[in-house]
């Protein structure tokens, strides 16, 4: 999952980037509203975390500009002022949720997961695609009721495919969303990971939960 962090306070920004990366997110960041608006328009991001008091261009203006440009990714607002008037204004401008500073990182992570799940069309925290069941809160995966142990990267790959169950996801999209920018795009590492994920979910090759579409990418069966 690729997240854009707009925060001008360097200590908080660096700490957020570090924690989000270790939670498995690919992170883009900007310290001011102008650069941030550009990043949101140009990069294929899945979710944005926006501080309202940004230099250059206020957070609310950035959000309005994104929405006007047709950007539909969910947006989480960070604000130091917990006045309802401001929260309502932010939500009406196109934000999807808010978090008041100071906050626990776990809270931020939970809110981001919920936003991503919702934008994938899932209203429940437990995603179900055919025989595969993924609990976004506990990060546990079961297949036909059997618990499946996954590495952090395998989990992220599966989560991404499941959030977009029924849709075709290209290899380059997976590379963009699951790796930092300096990743070698020509490598076949995604194929390797998809292969490992298939073996773990479906050791007998009976269920075939992940379909390969030649030259186009992968598709998780929704039912």
């Amino acid at each position: 999952m690729r997240v854009l962090v707009l925060e001008d306070e360097p200590v908080l920004r660096e700490s957020l980037i570090k924690q989000l990366r270790s939670a498995g997110f690919v992170v883009d960041s900007a310290a001011d509203g102008i650069e941030g608006e550009f990043a949101g328009n140009e990069y294929p991001i899945d979710v944005a975390v926006v501080d309202l008091g940004l230099p250059g261009r206020p957070g609310l203006d950035v959000i309005r500009a994104w929405r006007k440009a047709g950007k539909a990714f969910p947006i989480l607002i960070l604000t130091a002022r917990d006045r309802w008037q401001q929260k309502v204004e932010a939500l009406q401008s196109g934000a999807d949720d808010y978090l008041t500073k100071p906050f626990q990182f776990e809270e931020l992570q939970a809110r981001l997961q919920a936003l991503l799940r919702r934008s994938g069309g899932w209203s429940q925290p437990v995603l179900q695609a055919g025989p595969v069941e993924l609990d976004t809160r506990s990060q546990q995966v079961r297949c036909q009721g059997r618990a499946v142990e996954l590495t952090a990267f395998e989990y992220r790959l599966l989560e991404y495919l499941m959030l977009r169950a029924g849709q075709v996801v290209s290899k380059s999209e997976l590379t963009d969303k699951l790796y930092e920018q300096d990743f070698d795009r020509d490598s076949n590492v995604i194929e390797v990971f998809v292969g490992r994920l298939r073996r773990k979910l479906d050791p007998d090759g009976q269920l075939l939960p992940i379909e390969t579409l030649r030259g186009r990418g992968y598709r998780m069966a929704r039912e």
Partner: protein
Amino acid sequence: MGSKPVTASAPSLVNRLVLGMAAASVLLTGAAAMALDALYRDLALDSRRDVLDAQVIALVATAELDPAGALAPASIAEARLSTPGSGLYAEIRNQTDEVTWRSPSTVGSGLELKARPKAGERLVERVTLPDGTRVLAFSLGVSWETGLRQPATYVLSAAESLEPYFSQVARVRSWLLAGATLLMATLVIGLSLGLRAGLRPLRRLELEILEVESGRREALGAGWPRELEGVAQNLNGLLAGEQARLARYRTTLGNLAHSLKTPIAALKSILATGHADPAAAGPQLDRMQSIVEHQLRKAVLAGAGSTVASIAVKAPLTDLTGALSKVYRDKSVACHCDLPDDLAYPIDSGDLMELAGNLLDNAYKYCRTQVGLRARADQRPEWRRSGLLLEVDDDGPGILSVDRQRVLERGVRADESVPGQGIGLAAVRELTAAYGGTIEIGESELGGAAVRVSLPGR
């Protein structure tokens, strides 16, 4: 505080008014003097003409034909006509333009009249004598029976020097000039004195405001003219409000500083042990955070000032439910709103959102699927303007009656409260208290908690 303006100040009010009035009075008195001058010259010239007319008529009355056929007055009654250089002249010419008679006063004057009126015609002319004297002449054509076949036409003329007239005009002019100047000076001086006296209260207002700025005075004094009384009262109201606000800020800052001292001391002692345990610092940091939150809430509270305008209640509450439905989208909450369109109450819209936002946030958080929001006017005989009743309920687990009072009181003193617990309701309690209202928690028909806030009318 009282910094000198950098740009040059605009002309004072007194100077502007005096300049304007002076310009107007110069124009007016100038025009009046010119009109008077023109009128006087007109009248004086008319009277000169009448005099000459009378002289010519006298000539006609006394003229007789002498045996040689020349027309001449038999006698001269006017002494000035007989005196050379007297300034009054007369002559008679016949048909062939020969002078048949000339008054003795014309000797040496070089008077040459040019007007030749026909019989019965009167002509007035001005001529200048060789010595520069300006003369007004009046000539009358007269048809005279000479005993020949036809009557002969004679021209009888009288002329008078205009020099006495010009010197009179000059004298009148100098008097007019002196009078007009005196009038203007009196007007300008009187106006500026009057204006200065009239605008003195403004100067006093300026001085008193300066004194308030520099701290030598707390409020403006009394005894203002009617026009300034309202301004002075409003300024005093503003000053009183500012002072009250300042006092509140000082108290808030003092409370903030004092209440932060304890957790800071605790943190210091934790660090002083040498092996600082992050877990031990956690509760102190939480405490500091909740203190800051509490004081921030108090600082932004607009409160029920006498100047808060009535606002329509429906729009901000509808905005809130819209926003919360977005945040709690997963729960697909059904919000039953009962908000009259015309309901209005004098409250700061931010305070109303804060009040209802915290109540609704709790309801959305704890409900299963149903939330109710009702607002209506509360009319009582002792209130001129009605109060506001706000009720929020849900179908969640509700609040046990033994806990109800505790939930409201938690967070009242932020430095004793548990963060994240009851902060919302504590904020509602503080806001309600600031507006002099009451709050009660009961059971909802939906099955969960119902919170009723009642704000008084006035």
